[in-house]
């Protein structure tokens, strides 16, 4: 039974190349008198190939070359070997592991690529060889492949499972926004949160979101948020950009860091069409930073209304309860009525006191920011244009005092309908 190496000798042969390239002795052909000019001064094969290599490398600077990949093979050492060809020619290519690991993905058979590298000679075979230092896909092929490979790995680890998704806090106290502090994304997020819910604190966590360092930088920022521990929700993202700009958010280690966050994460990589791996592992995906902010916080006005409704329901329920008790006592009547009435009276007084506290609790009184209450001259609250006529005096109660006014003109319009509840 032949061994794997016998079946496939090429990798081990190529494998020697690293050493071969450095172990070829310095070319001596120019040191000899008339090297190779006579049988006596015949040069070695190694000298010939070394001379050829020196001349080639000196004459052809690093270049970009386009072609199709055929015969791709990744050696166990991580080196890549393939042939680049077009309709008329082909050349053997090698990408050493140290370079190959930086490339987006291994190209498929027949995939069109552009490579940058150095034309050289592989002395072990006396062949022309192109040493590839950079490899890019033509079109989307290579991007998609890279994405699919990483995605499959994340999926195998269960990181994309729907049941992993955590629900977002109903009213976050503090949101960490991981993005560039001078980008539009932070500005957009802050503007939306300030408008919808000024009660929520926003803490920016600086990260580079573009270029080679972006993935590591965002990862470091997430780690900082974890060490700090002050946020109950994280928004990570950036504004729109080209596919290359957004590529950092497809980084496997970054995606895993997002999945590992101890608090829910909203991913907001500004791109409507492409979904990044960060989007897939995050607890909530927003197409833009603004949309992330909308999903992150409720409308304060809705909450105010909710509290008001609850307050009314609570008051009504307890009044109902008290009314029923009073009724029962009244029905019991008779000899005990005096004492029982006193009990009910006492409780009635207590209820009045509570009712007063209920009024003082009015969210509109404490929720000062941006809200005002309009009162008529007799103190009644005015909630409709029908409560005022031109020439009427009124009073506006604000957080820090009151303003008296005179209605110049009353213009009824269609009533505002309550906002619908937010999505998540």
């Amino acid at each position: 039974m032949p061994s794997q190496d016998l079946l496939d000798p090429a990798p081990s042969l190529f494998e020697d190349e690293d050493t071969a390239c450095v172990s070829v002795p310095p070319a001596r052909y120019d040191a000899m008198p008339d090297p190779g000019g006579t049988p006596a001064s015949a040069i070695t094969v190694a000298t010939l190939t070394a001379a050829t290599r020196d001349i080639l490398e000196g004459a052809v600077p690093p270049v970009w070359v386009r072609g199709e990949v055929v015969g791709f093979k990744e050696h166990r050492s991580g080196h890549w070997y393939f042939t680049l060809k077009d309709a008329e020619a082909q050349i053997r290519c090698v990408a050493w592991a140290s370079d190959a690991r930086r490339f987006l993905a291994a190209p498929d058979e027949g995939m069109a690529v552009i490579v940058r590298g150095q034309l050289t000679v592989f002395p072990g075979r006396g062949e022309l060889q192109f040493r590839v230092r950079a490899l890019e896909g033509v079109g989307e092929g290579l991007w998609r492949k890279a994405l699919e490979v990483t995605r499959a790995r994340l999926e195998a680890d269960g990181l994309l499972a729907a049941e992993r998704k955590r629900s977002l806090p109903f009213l976050p106290r503090c949101i960490a926004v991981v993005t560039s502090t001078d980008g539009a994304a932070l500005h957009d997020v802050a503007a939306v949160i300030r408008r919808r819910c000024p009660a929520t604190r926003i803490v920016a966590v600086e990260a580079t979101v573009q270029g080679r360092e972006a993935a590591a930088s965002v990862r470091a920022a997430l780690a900082r948020v974890c060490r700090w521990g002050g946020a109950d929700l994280v928004i990570v993202g950036r504004g729109g950009g080209s596919r290359e700009d957004l590529w950092a958010f497809n980084d496997e280690r970054l995606a895993r860091a997002v999945a590992d966050m101890p608090v829910p994460v909203i991913s907001a990589v500004g791109h409507e069409i492409d979904v990044t791996l960060c989007d897939l592992v995050a607890d909530w995906r927003a197409p833009t930073p603004s949309a992330a902010a909308e999903a992150a916080v409720p409308q304060l006005a809705d909450l105010v209304r909710q509290l008001g409704d609850l307050r009314d329901a609570l008051g009504a329920a307890v009044l109902e309860r008290l009314g029923a008790a009073r009724q029962r006592l009244r029905v019991a009547g008779g000899a005990v009525s005096g004492a029982a009435a006193q009990v009910v009276e006492r409780r009635g007084l207590r209820l009045q006191g509570l009712g007063g506290r209920l009024d003082a609790l009015s969210p509109l009184a404490t929720l000062a920011r941006g809200y005002a209450v309009l009162h008529g001259v007799s103190g009644q609250a005015i909630t409709s244009t029908s409560g005022l006529a031109a020439g009427d005096r009124f009073m506006v109660r604000l957080r820090d005092g009151r303003v008296d006014g005179l209605a110049e003109r009353v213009e009824p319009g269609p009533p505002l309908t309550p906002a619908t509840p937010r999505a998540p």
């Binding site: 009660a199 060490r227 509290l307 309860r321």
Partner: protein, 70 residues
């Protein structure tokens, strides 16, 4: 208690009050608790953060969050 927890508690209390079996004394206690929860919830809403802050980690591993200058 978080806003959400406060609201949920008040909702529970309202449901309990609307049930029939509660003794009056118990009902009033629940009502008072509901008021306290509502107060806490509205306090939560009344916070008004103005500035965006910046998370800074010092060399000793401690953090501060100064206002972010735009």
């Amino acid at each position: 208690m978080s806003f959400e927890a406060s609201v949920r508690r008040v909702e529970e209390i309202v449901r309990a009050l609307e049930g029939e079996e509660l003794a009056l004394e118990r009902a009033l206690l629940l009502f008072e608790e509901g008021i306290a929860c509502l107060r806490e919830a509205s306090l939560e809403l009344s916070k008004a953060e103005q500035a965006v802050r910046l998370l800074r980690e010092r060399a000793d591993g401690s953090f501060d969050t100064p206002e972010l200058r735009a």
